[in-house]
Protein backbone atom coordinates (compact mmCIF):
# COMPACT_ATOMS: atom_id res chain seq x y z
CA UNK A 1 0.00 0.00 0.00
CA UNK A 2 2.69 2.39 1.09
CA UNK A 3 4.79 1.48 -1.94
CA UNK A 4 1.95 2.21 -4.29
CA UNK A 5 1.35 5.58 -2.70
CA UNK A 6 4.97 6.52 -3.16
CA UNK A 7 4.97 5.38 -6.77
CA UNK A 8 1.89 7.42 -7.43
CA UNK A 9 3.44 10.41 -5.75
CA UNK A 10 6.65 10.06 -7.68
CA UNK A 11 4.88 9.91 -11.01
CA UNK A 12 2.90 12.96 -9.93
CA UNK A 13 6.13 14.76 -9.14
CA UNK A 14 7.57 13.74 -12.51
CA UNK A 15 4.54 15.10 -14.35
CA UNK A 16 4.62 18.25 -12.28
CA UNK A 17 8.32 18.72 -12.87
CA UNK A 18 7.89 18.22 -16.60
CA UNK A 19 5.81 21.35 -16.73
CA UNK A 20 8.33 23.23 -14.61
CA UNK A 21 11.89 22.82 -15.78
CA UNK A 22 13.50 24.72 -12.93
CA UNK A 23 12.66 21.90 -10.58
CA UNK A 24 14.79 19.33 -12.40
CA UNK A 25 17.14 18.74 -9.51
CA UNK A 26 14.34 18.15 -7.06
CA UNK A 27 12.56 15.90 -9.47
CA UNK A 28 15.64 13.80 -10.00
CA UNK A 29 16.28 13.26 -6.33
CA UNK A 30 12.66 12.33 -5.69
CA UNK A 31 12.71 10.03 -8.66
CA UNK A 32 15.82 8.21 -7.45
CA UNK A 33 14.28 7.79 -4.04
CA UNK A 34 11.12 6.42 -5.55
CA UNK A 35 13.13 4.14 -7.78
CA UNK A 36 14.87 2.64 -4.80
CA UNK A 37 11.62 2.00 -3.03
CA UNK A 38 9.75 0.83 -6.09
CA UNK A 39 12.62 -1.02 -7.78
CA UNK A 40 11.77 0.39 -11.20
CA UNK A 41 14.31 0.81 -13.87
CA UNK A 42 16.17 4.05 -13.09
CA UNK A 43 18.66 5.19 -15.68
CA UNK A 44 18.53 3.35 -19.00
CA UNK A 45 20.59 4.06 -22.09
CA UNK A 46 19.23 3.19 -25.53
CA UNK A 47 21.46 2.98 -28.58
CA UNK A 48 20.17 5.15 -31.39
CA UNK A 49 21.75 3.65 -34.49
CA UNK A 50 22.51 5.90 -37.42
CA UNK A 51 19.80 4.70 -39.80
CA UNK A 52 16.15 5.72 -39.96
CA UNK A 53 14.29 2.64 -38.75
CA UNK A 54 16.60 2.18 -35.78
CA UNK A 55 16.34 5.86 -34.88
CA UNK A 56 12.56 5.56 -34.99
CA UNK A 57 12.57 2.50 -32.74
CA UNK A 58 14.98 4.06 -30.27
CA UNK A 59 12.79 7.13 -29.94
CA UNK A 60 9.62 5.07 -29.54
CA UNK A 61 11.37 3.01 -26.86
CA UNK A 62 12.60 6.10 -25.10
CA UNK A 63 9.13 7.63 -24.99
CA UNK A 64 7.47 4.45 -23.76
CA UNK A 65 10.13 3.70 -21.14
CA UNK A 66 10.07 7.28 -19.92
CA UNK A 67 6.33 7.74 -19.69
CA UNK A 68 5.10 4.19 -19.32
CA UNK A 69 7.71 2.76 -16.98
CA UNK A 70 9.11 5.95 -15.37
CA UNK A 71 12.63 5.17 -16.51
CA UNK A 72 15.21 7.87 -16.98
CA UNK A 73 15.70 6.75 -20.59
CA UNK A 74 18.47 8.38 -22.59
CA UNK A 75 19.57 7.97 -26.18
CA UNK A 76 23.19 7.41 -27.09
CA UNK A 77 24.47 7.34 -30.65
CA UNK A 78 25.53 3.94 -31.92
CA UNK A 79 26.31 1.65 -34.79
CA UNK A 80 26.04 -2.12 -35.08
CA UNK A 81 29.65 -3.08 -34.42
CA UNK A 82 30.74 -0.52 -31.81
CA UNK A 83 27.45 -0.75 -29.88
CA UNK A 84 27.45 -4.55 -29.93
CA UNK A 85 31.05 -4.73 -28.78
CA UNK A 86 30.50 -2.17 -26.05
CA UNK A 87 27.38 -3.97 -24.77
CA UNK A 88 29.26 -7.23 -24.52
CA UNK A 89 32.43 -5.82 -23.01
CA UNK A 90 31.18 -2.92 -20.89
CA UNK A 91 27.47 -3.57 -20.42
CA UNK A 92 26.70 -0.20 -22.01
CA UNK A 93 24.35 0.93 -23.50
CA UNK A 94 21.52 -1.10 -22.00
CA UNK A 95 19.41 -1.57 -25.10
CA UNK A 96 20.06 -1.97 -28.81
CA UNK A 97 16.60 -1.62 -30.35
CA UNK A 98 17.45 -2.84 -33.84
CA UNK A 99 20.44 -5.15 -33.97
CA UNK A 100 21.15 -6.95 -37.25
CA UNK A 101 22.53 -9.73 -35.16
CA UNK A 102 23.93 -11.94 -37.93
CA UNK A 103 26.72 -9.45 -38.40
CA UNK A 104 28.18 -10.30 -35.01
CA UNK A 105 26.41 -13.53 -34.24
CA UNK A 106 29.33 -15.31 -32.55
CA UNK A 107 30.15 -12.46 -30.21
CA UNK A 108 26.50 -11.93 -29.26
CA UNK A 109 25.91 -15.65 -28.67
CA UNK A 110 28.93 -15.70 -26.43
CA UNK A 111 27.61 -12.68 -24.54
CA UNK A 112 24.29 -14.42 -24.02
CA UNK A 113 26.00 -17.63 -22.89
CA UNK A 114 28.09 -15.67 -20.39
CA UNK A 115 24.95 -13.99 -19.05
CA UNK A 116 25.92 -10.51 -20.15
CA UNK A 117 23.21 -10.06 -22.79
CA UNK A 118 19.72 -11.19 -23.65
CA UNK A 119 17.91 -11.44 -26.95
CA UNK A 120 14.65 -9.78 -25.95
CA UNK A 121 12.73 -10.33 -29.17
CA UNK A 122 12.54 -9.60 -32.88
CA UNK A 123 12.48 -5.91 -33.75
CA UNK A 124 11.34 -6.75 -37.27
CA UNK A 125 9.05 -9.74 -37.15
CA UNK A 126 9.60 -10.62 -40.82
CA UNK A 127 13.35 -10.21 -40.49
CA UNK A 128 15.58 -8.11 -42.65
CA UNK A 129 15.40 -8.68 -46.38
CA UNK A 130 18.74 -8.74 -48.18
CA UNK A 131 19.08 -9.31 -51.89
CA UNK A 132 20.56 -8.21 -55.19
CA UNK A 133 18.31 -5.66 -56.80
CA UNK A 134 17.66 -3.88 -60.09
CA UNK A 135 15.47 -0.78 -60.38
CA UNK A 136 11.82 -1.46 -61.11
CA UNK A 137 11.76 0.67 -64.26
CA UNK A 138 14.27 -1.75 -65.77
CA UNK A 139 12.20 -4.84 -65.07
CA UNK A 140 9.14 -3.03 -66.41
CA UNK A 141 10.97 -2.66 -69.69
CA UNK A 142 12.86 -5.97 -69.66
CA UNK A 143 10.94 -8.46 -67.47
CA UNK A 144 13.75 -11.03 -67.82
CA UNK A 145 15.98 -8.82 -65.62
CA UNK A 146 14.10 -10.15 -62.60
CA UNK A 147 16.21 -13.30 -62.84
CA UNK A 148 19.97 -13.62 -62.68
CA UNK A 149 20.13 -15.18 -66.18
CA UNK A 150 18.41 -12.12 -67.58
CA UNK A 151 20.83 -9.81 -65.78
CA UNK A 152 23.80 -11.75 -67.13
CA UNK A 153 22.35 -11.60 -70.63
CA UNK A 154 22.06 -7.81 -70.47
CA UNK A 155 25.49 -7.41 -68.88
CA UNK A 156 26.48 -4.57 -71.23
CA UNK A 157 23.66 -2.45 -69.89
CA UNK A 158 25.25 -2.05 -66.45
CA UNK A 159 28.03 0.41 -67.22
CA UNK A 160 31.17 0.44 -65.11
CA UNK A 161 32.10 3.92 -63.89
CA UNK A 162 35.79 3.57 -64.73
CA UNK A 163 36.27 0.83 -67.27
CA UNK A 164 34.21 0.76 -70.47
CA UNK A 165 35.06 -2.90 -71.04
CA UNK A 166 33.54 -4.11 -67.79
CA UNK A 167 30.15 -3.90 -66.15
CA UNK A 168 29.40 -2.93 -62.60
CA UNK A 169 27.94 -5.00 -59.82
CA UNK A 170 27.81 -2.84 -56.71
CA UNK A 171 28.62 -4.81 -53.59
CA UNK A 172 28.50 -3.88 -49.97
CA UNK A 173 30.64 -1.18 -48.29
CA UNK A 174 34.08 -2.15 -46.99
CA UNK A 175 33.98 -3.71 -43.56
CA UNK A 176 30.27 -4.48 -43.46
CA UNK A 177 29.29 -8.05 -42.87
CA UNK A 178 27.37 -8.14 -46.15
CA UNK A 179 30.63 -7.42 -47.96
CA UNK A 180 31.58 -11.03 -47.30
CA UNK A 181 28.24 -12.56 -48.31
CA UNK A 182 27.88 -10.36 -51.39
CA UNK A 183 31.43 -11.23 -52.50
CA UNK A 184 30.81 -14.95 -52.00
CA UNK A 185 27.57 -14.82 -53.97
CA UNK A 186 29.37 -12.81 -56.65
CA UNK A 187 31.76 -15.75 -56.95
CA UNK A 188 29.04 -18.39 -56.74
CA UNK A 189 27.00 -16.72 -59.48
CA UNK A 190 30.04 -16.49 -61.80
CA UNK A 191 29.39 -12.79 -62.16
CA UNK A 192 33.04 -12.12 -62.88
CA UNK A 193 33.05 -14.53 -65.80
CA UNK A 194 29.92 -12.82 -67.08
CA UNK A 195 31.77 -9.50 -67.19
CA UNK A 196 30.72 -7.90 -63.89
CA UNK A 197 33.30 -6.17 -61.75
CA UNK A 198 32.60 -6.11 -58.00
CA UNK A 199 32.66 -2.42 -57.05
CA UNK A 200 33.00 -1.36 -53.43
CA UNK A 201 30.93 1.77 -52.76
CA UNK A 202 32.98 2.49 -49.63
CA UNK A 203 30.16 3.62 -47.35
CA UNK A 204 26.43 3.25 -46.86
CA UNK A 205 25.93 6.87 -47.86
CA UNK A 206 27.77 6.36 -51.15
CA UNK A 207 25.80 3.17 -51.85
CA UNK A 208 22.45 4.91 -51.39
CA UNK A 209 23.77 7.93 -53.27
CA UNK A 210 24.67 5.70 -56.20
CA UNK A 211 21.18 4.19 -56.19
CA UNK A 212 19.63 7.64 -56.07
CA UNK A 213 21.81 8.77 -58.96
CA UNK A 214 20.87 5.78 -61.11
CA UNK A 215 17.21 6.16 -60.25
CA UNK A 216 16.95 9.88 -60.93
CA UNK A 217 18.48 9.38 -64.36
CA UNK A 218 16.82 6.07 -65.15
CA UNK A 219 20.18 4.37 -65.55
CA UNK A 220 20.80 0.66 -65.17
CA UNK A 221 22.01 -0.40 -61.73
CA UNK A 222 22.61 -3.84 -60.24
CA UNK A 223 23.76 -4.43 -56.71
CA UNK A 224 23.23 -5.33 -53.10
CA UNK A 225 20.79 -3.60 -50.77
CA UNK A 226 18.48 -4.45 -47.94
CA UNK A 227 15.00 -3.68 -46.63
CA UNK A 228 13.20 -2.21 -44.81
CA UNK A 229 15.03 0.99 -45.62
CA UNK A 230 13.95 4.43 -46.69
CA UNK A 231 15.94 3.93 -49.89
CA UNK A 232 13.89 0.93 -50.95
CA UNK A 233 10.76 2.64 -49.63
CA UNK A 234 11.40 5.54 -51.95
CA UNK A 235 13.08 3.91 -54.96
CA UNK A 236 11.15 0.85 -55.99
CA UNK A 237 13.46 -2.03 -56.84
CA UNK A 238 12.97 -5.59 -58.03
CA UNK A 239 14.65 -8.45 -56.27
CA UNK A 240 16.76 -10.51 -58.67
CA UNK A 241 15.77 -14.17 -58.39
CA UNK A 242 18.65 -16.65 -58.46
CA UNK A 243 16.23 -19.50 -59.15
CA UNK A 244 17.63 -21.62 -56.35
CA UNK A 245 15.54 -20.78 -53.33
CA UNK A 246 17.11 -20.42 -49.90
CA UNK A 247 19.69 -22.86 -48.60
CA UNK A 248 19.95 -21.50 -45.09
CA UNK A 249 22.44 -24.08 -43.88
CA UNK A 250 24.89 -23.37 -46.68
CA UNK A 251 24.38 -19.64 -46.19
CA UNK A 252 25.26 -19.81 -42.52
CA UNK A 253 28.16 -22.21 -42.97
CA UNK A 254 29.77 -20.82 -46.07
CA UNK A 255 28.32 -17.73 -47.76
CA UNK A 256 28.42 -15.62 -44.62
CA UNK A 257 31.98 -16.71 -43.80
CA UNK A 258 35.11 -15.08 -45.12
CA UNK A 259 36.94 -18.36 -45.84
CA UNK A 260 34.12 -19.94 -47.87
CA UNK A 261 36.02 -22.14 -50.34
CA UNK A 262 33.23 -23.29 -52.62
CA UNK A 263 30.26 -20.95 -52.44
CA UNK A 264 27.02 -22.23 -53.93
CA UNK A 265 24.16 -20.06 -55.12
CA UNK A 266 21.44 -19.34 -52.60
CA UNK A 267 19.03 -16.49 -51.98
CA UNK A 268 19.55 -14.59 -48.75
CA UNK A 269 17.62 -16.09 -45.84
CA UNK A 270 15.67 -13.47 -43.86
CA UNK A 271 18.22 -12.08 -41.44
CA UNK A 272 17.15 -11.82 -37.87
CA UNK A 273 16.81 -8.30 -36.55
CA UNK A 274 16.58 -8.39 -32.81
CA UNK A 275 16.26 -6.25 -29.76
CA UNK A 276 19.26 -6.93 -27.57
CA UNK A 277 19.44 -5.83 -23.94
CA UNK A 278 22.06 -6.20 -21.27
CA UNK A 279 21.48 -8.79 -18.57
CA UNK A 280 21.58 -6.14 -15.85
CA UNK A 281 18.73 -4.20 -17.45
CA UNK A 282 16.65 -7.35 -17.89
CA UNK A 283 17.26 -8.40 -14.30
CA UNK A 284 16.73 -4.98 -12.69
CA UNK A 285 13.68 -3.92 -14.68
CA UNK A 286 11.72 -7.07 -15.52
CA UNK A 287 8.58 -5.09 -16.39
CA UNK A 288 10.29 -2.84 -18.86
CA UNK A 289 12.10 -5.89 -20.23
CA UNK A 290 8.71 -7.51 -20.89
CA UNK A 291 7.91 -4.60 -23.20
CA UNK A 292 10.96 -5.37 -25.33
CA UNK A 293 9.94 -9.01 -25.71
CA UNK A 294 6.74 -7.80 -27.39
CA UNK A 295 7.91 -4.71 -29.30
CA UNK A 296 8.05 -5.71 -32.94
CA UNK A 297 7.32 -4.13 -36.33
CA UNK A 298 6.08 -5.71 -39.52
CA UNK A 299 8.18 -4.88 -42.59
CA UNK A 300 5.22 -3.47 -44.51
CA UNK A 301 4.37 -1.11 -41.63
CA UNK A 302 8.02 -0.12 -41.27
CA UNK A 303 8.31 0.63 -44.98
CA UNK A 304 5.31 2.95 -44.73
CA UNK A 305 6.80 4.67 -41.71
CA UNK A 306 10.15 5.07 -43.45
CA UNK A 307 8.47 6.48 -46.54
CA UNK A 308 6.63 8.94 -44.28
CA UNK A 309 9.94 9.93 -42.66
CA UNK A 310 11.53 10.43 -46.06
CA UNK A 311 8.61 12.51 -47.35
CA UNK A 312 8.61 14.74 -44.31
CA UNK A 313 12.38 14.69 -43.78
CA UNK A 314 11.54 13.70 -40.23
CA UNK A 315 14.12 12.59 -37.67
CA UNK A 316 13.58 9.70 -35.27
CA UNK A 317 11.94 11.84 -32.62
CA UNK A 318 9.30 13.32 -34.87
CA UNK A 319 8.67 9.98 -36.54
CA UNK A 320 8.22 8.37 -33.12
CA UNK A 321 5.64 11.01 -32.21
CA UNK A 322 3.86 10.39 -35.49
CA UNK A 323 3.89 6.65 -34.90
CA UNK A 324 2.66 6.89 -31.30
CA UNK A 325 -0.12 9.26 -32.29
CA UNK A 326 -1.35 7.32 -35.30
CA UNK A 327 -0.72 3.66 -34.43
CA UNK A 328 -2.21 3.05 -31.01
CA UNK A 329 -3.54 -0.29 -32.27
CA UNK A 330 0.05 -1.48 -32.70
CA UNK A 331 1.88 -0.18 -29.67
CA UNK A 332 -0.94 -0.81 -27.22
CA UNK A 333 -0.38 -4.52 -27.79
CA UNK A 334 3.16 -4.20 -26.49
CA UNK A 335 2.22 -2.91 -23.03
CA UNK A 336 -0.38 -3.57 -20.36
CA UNK A 337 -3.57 -1.53 -20.30
CA UNK A 338 -2.65 0.73 -17.38
CA UNK A 339 0.74 1.52 -18.90
CA UNK A 340 -0.96 2.24 -22.21
CA UNK A 341 -3.18 4.78 -20.49
CA UNK A 342 -0.13 6.44 -18.92
CA UNK A 343 1.39 6.72 -22.39
CA UNK A 344 -1.86 8.09 -23.76
CA UNK A 345 -1.76 10.80 -21.13
CA UNK A 346 1.83 11.66 -22.06
CA UNK A 347 1.01 11.78 -25.78
CA UNK A 348 -1.88 14.10 -25.10
CA UNK A 349 0.54 16.50 -23.41
CA UNK A 350 2.89 16.64 -26.41
Amino acid sequence: MNKKMLALMSSFVVVAACSNNSDTAKEESTQTKAAVVEKTCGKVTIAEMNWSSAALMANVDQFILKHGYDCDAQLVTGDTMPTGTSMIEKGEPDIAPEMWSNSLRDALDKGVAEKRLRYAGDSLSDGGEEAFWVPKYLTDEYPELATIEGVKKHVKMFKHPEDPEKSMFMGCPAGWNCQISAANLYRALDLKESGFDLVDPGSGAALSGAIAKAYERREAWFGYYWAPTSVLGKYKMTKVDFGTGIDEKHYMECISKEDCAEPKVTMYPPSSVQTVTTESFAANSPEAYQYFTKRSFKNSRMNDLLAWMEDNQADGKIAAEHFLKTSRDIWSQWVTADIASKIDAAIAKQ
Binding site: P161, A174, G175, A205, E216
Partner: protein, 294 residues
Protein backbone atom coordinates in the same frame (compact mmCIF):
# COMPACT_ATOMS: atom_id res chain seq x y z
CA UNK B 1 5.89 37.14 -25.38
CA UNK B 2 7.19 33.71 -26.20
CA UNK B 3 10.03 35.15 -28.30
CA UNK B 4 11.70 36.30 -25.08
CA UNK B 5 12.10 32.77 -23.78
CA UNK B 6 12.15 30.84 -27.01
CA UNK B 7 14.11 31.57 -30.15
CA UNK B 8 11.80 32.88 -32.86
CA UNK B 9 12.50 30.02 -35.27
CA UNK B 10 10.75 29.00 -38.46
CA UNK B 11 7.96 26.52 -37.99
CA UNK B 12 8.84 22.91 -38.66
CA UNK B 13 6.54 22.77 -41.67
CA UNK B 14 8.15 25.80 -43.30
CA UNK B 15 11.62 24.42 -42.63
CA UNK B 16 10.73 21.05 -44.11
CA UNK B 17 9.17 22.75 -47.11
CA UNK B 18 12.32 24.79 -47.70
CA UNK B 19 14.59 21.78 -47.30
CA UNK B 20 12.44 19.66 -49.58
CA UNK B 21 12.18 22.25 -52.33
CA UNK B 22 15.97 22.75 -52.26
CA UNK B 23 16.54 18.99 -52.41
CA UNK B 24 14.09 18.60 -55.24
CA UNK B 25 15.60 21.36 -57.28
CA UNK B 26 19.02 19.76 -56.80
CA UNK B 27 17.57 16.43 -57.97
CA UNK B 28 16.14 18.11 -61.02
CA UNK B 29 19.44 19.81 -61.72
CA UNK B 30 21.27 16.50 -61.52
CA UNK B 31 18.71 14.83 -63.76
CA UNK B 32 18.98 17.67 -66.28
CA UNK B 33 22.71 18.31 -66.38
CA UNK B 34 24.24 15.26 -64.71
CA UNK B 35 25.08 13.53 -67.93
CA UNK B 36 26.74 16.51 -69.57
CA UNK B 37 28.77 17.21 -66.42
CA UNK B 38 29.87 13.59 -66.44
CA UNK B 39 30.90 13.95 -70.08
CA UNK B 40 32.89 17.05 -69.18
CA UNK B 41 34.91 15.05 -66.66
CA UNK B 42 35.39 12.08 -68.95
CA UNK B 43 38.85 13.07 -70.27
CA UNK B 44 40.09 13.55 -66.71
CA UNK B 45 38.66 10.18 -65.72
CA UNK B 46 40.34 8.54 -68.68
CA UNK B 47 43.64 10.12 -67.64
CA UNK B 48 43.22 8.94 -64.03
CA UNK B 49 42.45 5.40 -65.15
CA UNK B 50 45.37 5.44 -67.58
CA UNK B 51 47.79 6.75 -64.95
CA UNK B 52 46.66 4.15 -62.40
CA UNK B 53 47.05 1.38 -64.96
CA UNK B 54 50.50 2.71 -65.81
CA UNK B 55 51.62 2.62 -62.17
CA UNK B 56 50.08 -0.83 -61.65
CA UNK B 57 51.54 -2.14 -64.89
CA UNK B 58 55.09 -1.01 -64.21
CA UNK B 59 57.14 -3.83 -62.64
CA UNK B 60 57.62 -3.27 -58.93
CA UNK B 61 61.43 -3.08 -59.05
CA UNK B 62 61.31 -0.49 -61.81
CA UNK B 63 58.77 1.51 -59.83
CA UNK B 64 60.91 1.42 -56.68
CA UNK B 65 63.87 2.45 -58.82
CA UNK B 66 62.00 5.40 -60.31
CA UNK B 67 60.74 6.62 -56.95
CA UNK B 68 64.20 6.23 -55.43
CA UNK B 69 65.74 8.14 -58.34
CA UNK B 70 63.23 10.99 -57.98
CA UNK B 71 63.85 11.09 -54.24
CA UNK B 72 67.59 11.16 -54.76
CA UNK B 73 67.49 13.85 -57.45
CA UNK B 74 65.30 16.02 -55.24
CA UNK B 75 66.85 15.50 -51.83
CA UNK B 76 70.42 14.32 -52.64
CA UNK B 77 70.63 12.25 -49.51
CA UNK B 78 71.75 8.65 -49.66
CA UNK B 79 70.30 7.89 -46.27
CA UNK B 80 66.84 9.02 -47.34
CA UNK B 81 67.02 7.21 -50.68
CA UNK B 82 67.96 3.92 -49.03
CA UNK B 83 65.25 4.41 -46.41
CA UNK B 84 62.68 4.97 -49.18
CA UNK B 85 63.78 1.79 -50.98
CA UNK B 86 63.48 -0.26 -47.80
CA UNK B 87 60.09 1.23 -46.87
CA UNK B 88 58.66 0.59 -50.35
CA UNK B 89 60.00 -2.93 -50.32
CA UNK B 90 58.34 -3.57 -46.96
CA UNK B 91 55.03 -2.19 -48.28
CA UNK B 92 55.15 -4.70 -51.12
CA UNK B 93 56.31 -7.45 -48.80
CA UNK B 94 53.25 -6.98 -46.61
CA UNK B 95 50.95 -7.23 -49.63
CA UNK B 96 49.99 -3.60 -49.99
CA UNK B 97 51.78 -2.82 -53.26
CA UNK B 98 48.72 -2.53 -55.52
CA UNK B 99 46.71 -0.41 -53.12
CA UNK B 100 49.72 1.82 -52.51
CA UNK B 101 50.11 2.35 -56.25
CA UNK B 102 46.40 3.21 -56.57
CA UNK B 103 46.68 5.74 -53.76
CA UNK B 104 49.94 7.12 -55.18
CA UNK B 105 48.25 7.62 -58.54
CA UNK B 106 45.22 9.53 -57.29
CA UNK B 107 47.28 11.59 -54.83
CA UNK B 108 49.81 12.52 -57.52
CA UNK B 109 47.11 13.61 -59.94
CA UNK B 110 45.15 15.56 -57.35
CA UNK B 111 48.30 17.29 -56.09
CA UNK B 112 49.28 18.25 -59.64
CA UNK B 113 45.80 19.63 -60.29
CA UNK B 114 45.81 21.47 -56.96
CA UNK B 115 49.09 23.14 -57.86
CA UNK B 116 47.98 23.91 -61.41
CA UNK B 117 44.79 25.57 -60.16
CA UNK B 118 46.09 26.83 -56.84
CA UNK B 119 49.12 28.89 -57.86
CA UNK B 120 47.30 31.02 -60.48
CA UNK B 121 44.46 31.63 -58.01
CA UNK B 122 47.01 32.61 -55.37
CA UNK B 123 48.68 35.02 -57.82
CA UNK B 124 45.32 36.61 -58.66
CA UNK B 125 44.61 36.97 -54.96
CA UNK B 126 47.93 38.66 -54.37
CA UNK B 127 47.32 41.16 -57.16
CA UNK B 128 43.95 42.40 -55.96
CA UNK B 129 42.62 42.97 -52.48
CA UNK B 130 39.09 42.52 -53.70
CA UNK B 131 39.85 39.02 -55.04
CA UNK B 132 41.48 38.23 -51.73
CA UNK B 133 38.37 39.38 -49.87
CA UNK B 134 36.25 37.19 -52.12
CA UNK B 135 38.38 34.07 -52.13
CA UNK B 136 39.35 33.88 -48.44
CA UNK B 137 35.88 32.97 -47.11
CA UNK B 138 35.50 30.39 -49.86
CA UNK B 139 38.76 28.78 -48.75
CA UNK B 140 37.49 28.79 -45.16
CA UNK B 141 34.36 26.94 -46.23
CA UNK B 142 36.38 24.43 -48.23
CA UNK B 143 38.58 23.62 -45.27
CA UNK B 144 35.90 23.34 -42.62
CA UNK B 145 32.77 22.02 -44.34
CA UNK B 146 32.42 18.34 -43.36
CA UNK B 147 33.37 16.36 -46.46
CA UNK B 148 30.25 14.21 -46.65
CA UNK B 149 28.01 17.27 -46.85
CA UNK B 150 29.23 17.94 -50.37
CA UNK B 151 30.36 14.41 -51.23
CA UNK B 152 26.95 12.78 -51.37
CA UNK B 153 25.52 15.47 -53.69
CA UNK B 154 28.61 14.98 -55.86
CA UNK B 155 27.97 11.22 -55.84
CA UNK B 156 24.40 11.88 -56.98
CA UNK B 157 25.78 13.96 -59.82
CA UNK B 158 28.76 11.90 -60.93
CA UNK B 159 28.36 8.48 -59.33
CA UNK B 160 30.95 6.87 -57.08
CA UNK B 161 34.59 6.46 -57.91
CA UNK B 162 37.64 8.41 -58.92
CA UNK B 163 36.19 11.73 -60.10
CA UNK B 164 34.13 12.48 -56.97
CA UNK B 165 37.11 11.28 -54.93
CA UNK B 166 39.42 13.61 -56.81
CA UNK B 167 37.04 16.53 -56.33
CA UNK B 168 36.84 15.82 -52.60
CA UNK B 169 40.61 15.63 -52.24
CA UNK B 170 41.17 18.84 -54.20
CA UNK B 171 38.52 20.78 -52.30
CA UNK B 172 40.16 19.85 -49.03
CA UNK B 173 43.79 20.09 -50.10
CA UNK B 174 43.95 23.14 -52.35
CA UNK B 175 43.57 25.97 -49.78
CA UNK B 176 47.14 25.89 -48.37
CA UNK B 177 48.82 26.32 -51.74
CA UNK B 178 46.47 29.21 -52.60
CA UNK B 179 46.91 30.90 -49.25
CA UNK B 180 50.68 30.58 -49.16
CA UNK B 181 51.17 31.66 -52.79
CA UNK B 182 49.16 34.77 -51.97
CA UNK B 183 51.09 35.37 -48.77
CA UNK B 184 54.49 34.72 -50.36
CA UNK B 185 53.93 37.24 -53.14
CA UNK B 186 52.54 39.83 -50.76
CA UNK B 187 55.60 39.45 -48.53
CA UNK B 188 58.08 40.23 -51.30
CA UNK B 189 60.07 43.36 -50.35
CA UNK B 190 58.61 46.58 -51.76
CA UNK B 191 62.13 47.93 -52.33
CA UNK B 192 63.16 44.94 -54.38
CA UNK B 193 60.09 45.46 -56.54
CA UNK B 194 60.84 49.18 -56.91
CA UNK B 195 64.37 48.42 -57.94
CA UNK B 196 63.14 45.89 -60.49
CA UNK B 197 60.58 48.33 -61.89
CA UNK B 198 63.20 51.06 -62.13
CA UNK B 199 65.19 48.79 -64.42
CA UNK B 200 62.12 48.88 -66.65
CA UNK B 201 60.80 45.32 -66.52
CA UNK B 202 57.41 44.34 -67.86
CA UNK B 203 54.68 43.21 -65.41
CA UNK B 204 55.08 39.66 -66.69
CA UNK B 205 58.83 39.74 -66.03
CA UNK B 206 58.16 41.24 -62.61
CA UNK B 207 55.91 38.31 -61.72
CA UNK B 208 57.97 35.59 -63.30
CA UNK B 209 61.50 36.76 -62.48
CA UNK B 210 61.07 38.63 -59.21
CA UNK B 211 57.91 37.89 -57.29
CA UNK B 212 57.56 34.16 -57.87
CA UNK B 213 61.20 33.27 -57.20
CA UNK B 214 61.22 35.32 -54.01
CA UNK B 215 57.90 33.82 -52.92
CA UNK B 216 59.11 30.32 -53.69
CA UNK B 217 59.89 29.23 -50.11
CA UNK B 218 56.34 30.08 -49.07
CA UNK B 219 54.84 28.49 -52.17
CA UNK B 220 56.80 25.31 -51.55
CA UNK B 221 55.57 25.23 -47.96
CA UNK B 222 52.04 25.54 -49.35
CA UNK B 223 52.58 22.71 -51.82
CA UNK B 224 53.97 20.59 -49.03
CA UNK B 225 50.89 21.21 -46.89
CA UNK B 226 48.65 20.48 -49.86
CA UNK B 227 50.28 17.10 -50.36
CA UNK B 228 49.92 16.22 -46.69
CA UNK B 229 46.25 17.19 -46.66
CA UNK B 230 45.61 15.23 -49.84
CA UNK B 231 47.03 12.13 -48.15
CA UNK B 232 44.88 12.78 -45.12
CA UNK B 233 41.84 12.55 -47.40
CA UNK B 234 42.67 9.04 -48.64
CA UNK B 235 40.29 7.35 -46.20
CA UNK B 236 37.44 9.82 -46.83
CA UNK B 237 37.87 9.35 -50.58
CA UNK B 238 37.64 5.60 -50.20
CA UNK B 239 34.28 6.10 -48.52
CA UNK B 240 32.93 7.03 -51.95
CA UNK B 241 34.48 4.11 -53.72
CA UNK B 242 38.02 5.23 -54.51
CA UNK B 243 40.19 2.11 -54.50
CA UNK B 244 43.46 2.24 -52.60
CA UNK B 245 44.87 2.14 -49.10
CA UNK B 246 41.74 3.73 -47.66
CA UNK B 247 39.54 0.69 -48.24
CA UNK B 248 41.48 -1.73 -46.01
CA UNK B 249 41.60 1.03 -43.39
CA UNK B 250 37.81 1.28 -43.52
CA UNK B 251 37.48 -2.47 -43.33
CA UNK B 252 39.77 -2.59 -40.32
CA UNK B 253 37.93 0.22 -38.54
CA UNK B 254 34.54 -1.47 -38.76
CA UNK B 255 35.86 -4.91 -37.90
CA UNK B 256 38.46 -3.94 -35.33
CA UNK B 257 41.33 -5.53 -37.27
CA UNK B 258 43.91 -3.36 -35.59
CA UNK B 259 46.97 -4.79 -37.32
CA UNK B 260 45.45 -4.40 -40.79
CA UNK B 261 44.52 -0.81 -40.01
CA UNK B 262 47.95 -0.02 -38.65
CA UNK B 263 49.80 -1.55 -41.62
CA UNK B 264 47.77 0.36 -44.18
CA UNK B 265 47.94 3.50 -42.09
CA UNK B 266 51.72 3.17 -42.00
CA UNK B 267 51.79 2.73 -45.78
CA UNK B 268 49.98 6.09 -46.09
CA UNK B 269 52.55 7.58 -43.72
CA UNK B 270 55.40 6.23 -45.88
CA UNK B 271 53.87 7.88 -48.96
CA UNK B 272 53.50 11.09 -46.97
CA UNK B 273 57.14 11.02 -45.86
CA UNK B 274 58.38 10.40 -49.39
CA UNK B 275 56.27 13.23 -50.79
CA UNK B 276 57.31 15.51 -47.95
CA UNK B 277 61.06 14.90 -48.16
CA UNK B 278 61.06 15.15 -51.94
CA UNK B 279 59.20 18.44 -52.02
CA UNK B 280 61.14 19.90 -49.09
CA UNK B 281 64.47 18.76 -50.45
CA UNK B 282 63.63 20.35 -53.77
CA UNK B 283 62.52 23.53 -52.03
CA UNK B 284 65.72 23.75 -49.98
CA UNK B 285 67.94 23.35 -53.00
CA UNK B 286 66.02 25.93 -54.99
CA UNK B 287 66.38 28.34 -52.07
CA UNK B 288 70.10 27.66 -51.93
CA UNK B 289 70.38 28.85 -55.49
CA UNK B 290 68.55 31.99 -54.41
CA UNK B 291 70.84 32.31 -51.43
CA UNK B 292 73.05 34.83 -53.20
CA UNK B 293 70.54 37.59 -52.81
CA UNK B 294 70.74 37.72 -49.04
Amino acid sequence: MSWLTEFPELSRETLVAIRKSLDNSYREFSREYGESIELFFDPLLAFLVWFEKLLLGTPWWLMIGIIALITHLAARSWRLTIGVIIALFLIGFFGMWENTMRTLSIITVSTMLSILIGIPVGILMARSDRTQMLVTPILDVMQTMPAFVYLIPVVMLLGIGKIPGLIAVIIYAIPPVIRLTNLGIRLVDKEVLEAAVSYGISPWQKLWNVQLPLALPNIMAGINQTIMMALAMVVIASMIGVAGLGQPVLRSITNQYFALGLLNGLAIVVLAIIFDRVSQGYAKRSQKYLGGRE
